[in-house]
Structures are given as structure tokens and as C-alpha cells.
Symmetry: C2
């Protein structure tokens, strides 16, 4: 598929490359970030789940026909071990003038360590009510 360079780097760099590929509607770069596993899962807000490379690629291709999506992940919470990083982010989306401001997007991004480096195994995005909160639901970290 993609002829772009295979991505390497930390999970933070892979995640930055993911949102960068979205902003440039760069399908090959985007798909290169995913693990080589047909059980990978992608859920777009309010849409059915997609399993495997072909289904995930086709959905992003359809989205990219309308151009890139400018998203900044904020308020990241992470659980990690040596082989997996679970990021939960709020997606700060650059909105058009007619788009709603009374909802925000929550996303779970899971990365697994593969022989080729860190790769995305799951992206699950969904809509939550209200504007982006100022972390009101966060219990203070005590350690």
C-alpha cells in the first residue's frame, strides 16, 4: 500500500503523526501507523465499528474526500506498560462556523509495541455532551 516512510519513534511521536496525517488527509501515512493485525479496530463518532485494515482505510478515504481534519488531542490520560500504551484524549477539533459547540469528542487510542515499533491497535472516538470540560471529573493523582 503506502510508499511513505515507515514511522518510528515514541508513542507520543506516533500519536502526533496520526493527528498530523489527519490534518493533511494523508491516507498512506495514516495507515502506516496501524499495527499489522487484522483485529485492529476503529470507531468514528456515531458510526458503526470498523475492523481490519481494508475497512478502516476505506472509511478514512471517504472522510478525506472532504479534506483534512484539524484535531489537537488535549487532556491526555495514560495507562502504560512495556508493550502497550493506552491514551485517552479529548479531541479539540477545529470547527467550521456552522458546527456545534455543545459537544466534544472523546477518543481512546491504544498503541502496541511491534517488531516495527509502536503502532496503533485501536482508535475509538465518540461524542460527549457539553463543551470541553476543565477536567472536572478527574480525581487528583495522589502518587
Amino acid at each position: 500500500m503506502g510508499k511513505t516512510r515507515k514511522p518510528t519513534g515514541t508513542v507520543e511521536e506516533i500519536e502526533a503523526a496520526f493527528y498530523d496525517a489527519l490534518s493533511h488527509a494523508d491516507l498512506d501515512s495514516l495507515m502506516n501507523l496501524w499495527a499489522d493485525d487484522e483485529e485492529i479496530v476503529c470507531v468514528h463518532p456515531g458510526a458503526p465499528r470498523l475492523v481490519g485494515h481494508a475497512a478502516i482505510r476505506a472509511a478514512w478515504e471517504a472522510i478525506f474526500e472532504r479534506g483534512g481534519i484539524h484535531i489537537r488531542p488535549v487532556q491526555t490520560h495514560a495507562v502504560h506498560n512495556m508493550l502497550t500504551v493506552i491514551h485517552h484524549v479529548i479531541e479539540e477539533v477545529q470547527r467550521g462556523p456552522n458546527e456545534p459547540t455543545d459537544v466534544h469528542i472523546l477518543a481512546t487510542n491504544v498503541y502496541v509495541k511491534t517488531p516495527h515499533g509502536w503502532r496503533m491497535a485501536l482508535h475509538h472516538a465518540s461524542i460527549a455532551p457539553g463543551a470541553i470540560p476543565d477536567e472536572p471529573f478527574h480525581t487528583p493523582v495522589l502518587h
Copy 2:
């Protein structure tokens, strides 16, 4: 907190215990299934995200005031390594007579291996349109 027995077993057993605790509105058993990490995340359908034990417990407690929830996870897709299991399931919910049948619930359940055994690190549930599909978005597994 909970005085119930600490859960042990496979990820499949921990997941079964999770949905069993939901069905019995058993808050202590439910919370014992989570990793001892203040970065754990729980997202209920259409609700803001919850981070940490106290916030997650409080939300389930409020839900359980209306009784247990009878959910059967179906169509599980899994990505796993030695330290983490990512389950993506469709939640088949036992509905009341007035509840909608034109949506279904998608859930990401992530389990991490801890010194106490497998524990839940993330539960992200969201609503997708339509009745439960018959895996129409699944690319056939070739290996």
C-alpha cells in the same frame, strides 16, 4: 473499599465478572476488577469521561440506583500481548419495552496484567446507529 474476594483468572473470566457485576448492581465486585491506577478511564454512552476510581465508582453507583444492567458482550475482537488485552465488543443490552432498538452500544475494554492478575484499565462505551450488525464491516481474517 470492597470486602468481596479479589478476582483472579483469565481476561475472559474478568470480563465475564464485569458484566456479571453489572447485572447484579454489585458495586464492590465491579470496582475490584479495575487496576489500582488513578489514570483508569471509563466512558458511559453519551456521557463525559471519568478518570480515577472515585469518579468511576460514583457514576456506577448512580447507575445502579436504577438496578442492574443486563448486558451480553458479543462479536468480540481482540488484540493482545503478554501484558495487555484489548477487547472490542458489541454490548447486547436487555431492553425495556420503551427503549430504542435503532441503536447499539460499542465498547472498548482494555485489561492490563498487574501483580494481582488481569485488571480493567479502560471501558469506553458509545452508541452506534442501527441494530446490531451481522459483522458487515469485518474484513475476513486471513491468518
